[in-house]
């Protein structure tokens, strides 16, 4: 038993969570193990615990989001923090205020944690260098969406126990996907073999420098993978004509009932949401028994609680005595 404890012997020292690229495998595992302890809060009669009592969390979202924003708000609420919602449309940003001024003003009100989503890559890092509060990245440009990456590996780990040696395909619009990047960092660090699958027009230009394999055909990989993560086609980000038609994309890269027949029987089907039913994934597959799409949402809450808890702990311990 003493030896089992070895995996828990790490101290979390990060006041900010900016991305998964900079985390070690040990840190990711520590975070996932911590998240396990938060799961039961959501299933009991009093869905609240006190560790962030008296703390203020700001949801600073410069891009539309339902799932992530609500998930962070609920996670903060369940840890007894107060949550301030800040969206671009209803704020002074529409009057021309800069990101830094907005954040400094919020800070002057005495906040403890900022959860930020921004369409510019590096926004979270920029903020973390300029304010005293903890910063949690909820998506920056095409760079990272760390909590999504964490909840994805958490979901896989919960069912498959370990990612070591698993083959994972991430399918779709890789170029515009921060989820694909965060997933890639987390999954490869935990020992999985990741393949990016999609049309060449939707691959990042420097993809050969990433620790992944690349395939331009879903049919080529579907039989051998243990997990398939279907990305949403983000029409709001697509410029030009990356594929001839939606029907053609769906024909080559959609996860259909036909394709699922050739997959491993215990394959996990994931999707970060929101789903374009019938486009990247057929309804029957999205609702089928291999699908863990709703587990991802549930697990997201536990993971975000763990993240808020840990960054706050690190921040409390770094304060001058």
């Amino acid at each position: 038993m003493a030896l089992i404890r070895k995996s828990r012997q790490l101290k979390w020292h990060r006041k900010h969570l900016l991305g998964l690229r900079e985390l070690s495998a040990e840190e990711i595992i520590y975070l996932l193990d911590t998240a396990k302890g938060f799961e039961q809060i959501s299933t009991r009669s009093v869905k609240k615990a006190p560790p962030l009592r008296g703390k203020v969390v700001v949801n600073l979202f410069f891009e539309d989001s339902t799932r992530t924003r609500n998930s962070f708000a609920l996670a903060a609420n369940r840890l007894s923090a107060d949550v301030v919602e800040f969206t671009q449309k209803s704020s002074s940003v529409s009057k021309g205020e800069t990101l830094l001024d907005t954040a400094k003003n919020l800070e002057a009100m005495g906040i403890d944690i900022v959860v930020i989503r921004h369409n510019a890559g590096g926004a979270a890092k920029f903020l973390s260098r300029n304010i005293k509060a903890s910063v949690v990245n909820a998506g920056d440009g095409f760079c990272e969406h760390p909590t999504q990456g964490l909840l994805d590996v958490y979901t896989i780990r919960r069912i498959k126990n370990s990612l070591d040696g698993l083959k994972i395909a991430i399918v779709g619009d890789i170029a515009h996907s921060r989820v694909a990047r965060s997933d890639m960092w987390a999954m490869t660090k935990l020992g999985a073999e990741v393949t990016f699958v999609g049309p060449p027009t939707l691959m990042p230009s420097q993809v050969s420098q990433l620790p992944v394999k690349v395939s331009y055909s879903l049919d080529e990989v579907i039989e051998e993978v243990d997990v398939v993560n279907m990305l949403r086609i983000q029409f709001e980000r697509l410029g030009g004509n990356p594929f001839p038609s939606i029907r053609e994309y769906s024909h080559y890269f959609g996860l259909t009932v036909e394709r699922m027949k050739r997959a491993k029987p215990d394959i996990l089907v994931m999707h970060p949401g929101p789903i374009n039913r019938g486009l990247e994934i057929e309804s029957e597959v999205a609702d089928g028994h291999n699908s863990v799409i709703l587990n991802q949402v549930t697990n997201g809450l536990a993971v975000r609680m763990a993240v808020l808890f840990l960054v706050n702990q690190a921040s409390a311990q770094q304060e001058p005595k």
């Binding site: 003493a2 070895k6 020292h13 193990d33 911590t34 396990k36 039961q40 702990q313 005595k321």
Partner: protein
Amino acid sequence: MLPHMPASLADIFLSPNYLHYHTINAGFLQENNPATSMNMAFFSVDTGDFIKLTEKCCLYRAQLLYSGQYSRIGLFERIAIKMKVILDSKQIEQILRDLTGSIISDTPADLDIAVIGIRSRGEILAQRMSELLSEKLGKNIPCGTLDITLYRDDLNSPQGVTQPQVRTTEIGFDVDDKIIILVDDVLYTGRSARAAMDALIDLGRPRAIRLAVLIDRAGREFPIQADYGGYKSDAEPGNLVQVNLVESDGKDEVVVE
């Protein structure tokens, strides 16, 4: 002298295994209640075994320094301390029998009893007590485990040299209307018991919560007393009272400085 033990600070810092040593040691600190004094063990990288220094009747006190987010620099202060065994495995077993006996004689037979242990030593004691109770009462007495990390009162204090790991609460039954026997290894300041009660009532509304502890130690900071106390200890504040159990430490015994 134990093998693989760093002899001085320089040995630790110059060793290629320095980080290894350090994180292992830091981890051991987390396992213990900050209210009791700190306990640590060195880790042998060669054999992969923990060497519990308490077994050799000496103990080393550690102090960790953290400055800024990059610092993982530890400073180990070596102070040898003589440890004295106050309870052996027979005595521990007898105390658990006495405690369960008192619980049964105090509790009307028509009420449901459940045992809940506080992580991590309380969990093991709770398991043993539920087996004894089940045996004596001839019915299954459910047993659960409570992690109190989220309810601790020192989470936001910068003094914390220990960073508690959040672990799972595993209670597979409804606590409503049951007599809950809350089990911990040592009752000292009363802070853990306070946290455990808050954690418990977030799970439901027990008919009553009773506190059972193996060691009832002087030094209360909260108005909390044990309903079922085992061995009474008047160890000086700051001194270590350590409960070792077969499941976690390889041996049943209680030692004090």
